[in-house]
Symmetry: C2
Subunit: 243 residues, 2 copies
DNA sequence: AAGTGGTCTAGACCACTAT
DNA sequence: TAGTGGTCTAGACCACTTC
């Protein structure tokens, strides 16, 4: 059953995670690394890589000399900000049935903050896609994505605006989204956004202003998002630098 | 010059980081891993560990088959939320001269959210320390730390309330702060907090509600913080899970 | 003293990028 | 095709916890 691709490390990680979720480890104690390595027929290094990732995610914790243990509180966390990739996934993790509706989609000149974020010329055009995400029938989040038309290599994108941005960028721009640099801003919702989210104007919310970079480290998308703070609350694990 | 402790990996990381900051790599291209390993007299594994951390911090990026490069935009980022450990450090990174003032310090019964966060009994007492952080003379952030009196092993803590919490916990509680689980909340500042921060009541701000865990994964401190959004803005790098 | 995780080595082979 | 980073191995030794 053990093969290449996904990597051995990923397989080992998934295997251990599954056993944790099934509560197969008595007392929350995970077997020693050498034992796991022998059982799975891989090197200890591979096991350690897998455990390191699980530790970083907050699923387990390790204590030198003592052992490796399941981190019960960590298992309860649903959306960890650093790991969010698609908002569809976030909603699923919260137990919602996610759906998305495209509010608008048009091509036009980039506004000033977008030009600055994406290093665009004054006359550059961007494809602006505005979406709302719903859990069951309730709106929980609004996102505006801005993609330079210059990199949209495939003009046949109609009806694909609803797909997650990173898929859109792969299918129609031939780019891979590598990471986001996000700024977290407290806002008071304006009338339009509040209406879309189904709350009173002036309601407090968290907003993200993010720049997405591709595999060559070029900025390729600017996203602005607003969240219903009462329905979606983000968590974050902060550790000592380098750990 | 290369010795144990700090670890080889940490030394290699610091060495490369320094060379990057000094702009010693022409065209932002970092030498191949094998070359770095040979030059420094360490194994390629050690070099890779160091590079992985620099990559995770956003200092460099790597492309399979192509090479390793300096990530210019990443170098500009000053405070990355996931890596914040002491707020003194944050302010220094922003180029401020940090200082801290203890607003109040007292022992009293824990309120309900604190009891829940720290698994305390209904009659448990906590040491509550309220501090304000200043850049030069301007207040930028207010923090309230709550530590169960049960774990304060050393009663002689007077005048040490101003030190960073993690130091206080080590010196007077014999615990090591391992990580924080933080919740990010948008707020409108109440009159008291606004006055301390020198802004109008009702000003928008980001608030953190955090639980600090020790090396045994026990919750040992609950912190609530409020920031001057105009003076301190947090950034975050979000990547694909597992990367 | 025994057993655990933490660090490091030397080397093999693979996947991908450049030319 | 040559050179790069990505994955994996097998083994050594160290630091720490537990008994």
């Amino acid at each position: 059953m053990i093969t290449r691709n996904p990597s051995l490390t990923d397989q080992v990680k998934a295997h251990i995670k599954e056993r944790i979720v099934r509560d197969e480890f008595a007392g929350g104690r995970i077997p020693p690394e050498t034992e796991l390595a022998a059982d799975l027929g891989v090197s200890r290094t591979t096991v350690r890589d897998a455990l390191s990732r699980l530790e970083h995610e907050g699923t387990i914790y390790r204590r030198q000399g003592a052992g490796t243990f399941v981190n019960e509180p960590g298992l309860q966390i649903r959306s960890r900000l650093e790991e969010i990739w698609s908002y569809e996934q976030v909603l699923e993790d919260h137990g919602y049935v996610p759906s998305v509706r495209v509010l608008s989609s048009h091509v036009g000149p980039a506004d000033s903050p977008t030009r600055e974020a994406l290093n665009l010329d004054a006359d550059a055009n961007v494809l602006v896609i505005e979406k709302v995400f719903l859990e069951d029938q309730n709106p929980v989040m609004v996102t505006v994505n801005r993609i330079p038309t210059r990199i949209v290599s495939d003009a046949e994108y109609a009806d694909d605006e609803a797909m997650p941005v990173y898929e859109f960028l792969e299918d129609h721009c031939n780019r891979t989204l590598g990471y986001y640099l996000s700024e977290i801003i407290p806002v008071s919702l304006d009338a339009d956004t509040a209406r879309v989210l189904g709350v009173e104007p002036g309601t407090l919310a968290i907003s993200f202003d993010e720049i997405g970079f591709d595999q060559n480290n070029e900025p390729i998308v600017r996203a602005t998002s607003y969240f219903r703070d009462d329905l979606l609350r983000f968590r974050l694990i902060r550790r000592r630098s380098g750990a």
